[in-house]
Assembly symmetry: C2
Homo-oligomer: 84 residues x 2
Amino acid sequence: MFFIDILGYLAGTLVVISLLPQTIKSWKTKSTKDLSLSRYIIYVAGLILWITYAILIKNGPVAIMNGIGLILAGSILYLKLKYK
Amino acid sequence: MFFIDILGYLAGTLVVISLLPQTIKSWKTKSTKDLSLSRYIIYVAGLILWITYAILIKNGPVAIMNGIGLILAGSILYLKLKYK
């Protein structure tokens, strides 16, 4: 079971951390033409619901992981709106 | 509890479905310059681990949801490699 738990945390961490290179790239290049605006609006909405869900079921790791995801995805959405 | 379950499913669905507009946009415009390649490589790796985790804990909905995510994210990665 311990191995399976590690696998779950690793999977979640990779999925969230994968947003970082996109945030850095968009911030550096100031170019977000190819990013889909609706993708990030729906994504941010989904992450907010995810965090609400995690708080309701009292799952700290899921809330924190999606909280970090929300900060990164929210930053990309901001950059998309700024440099569209 | 029922309401909380619905919230979880809705959150997961939104997060996965949010990939669709990006797939369609990249496919239509044939332009993926602003997309981060490492974002999609790490994301696809994370989704594969997520599916493995879901299969190991025998959670069908999570496996299916991440499977759809993998198809969409994999398509974006393919388009990124093709039109970089």
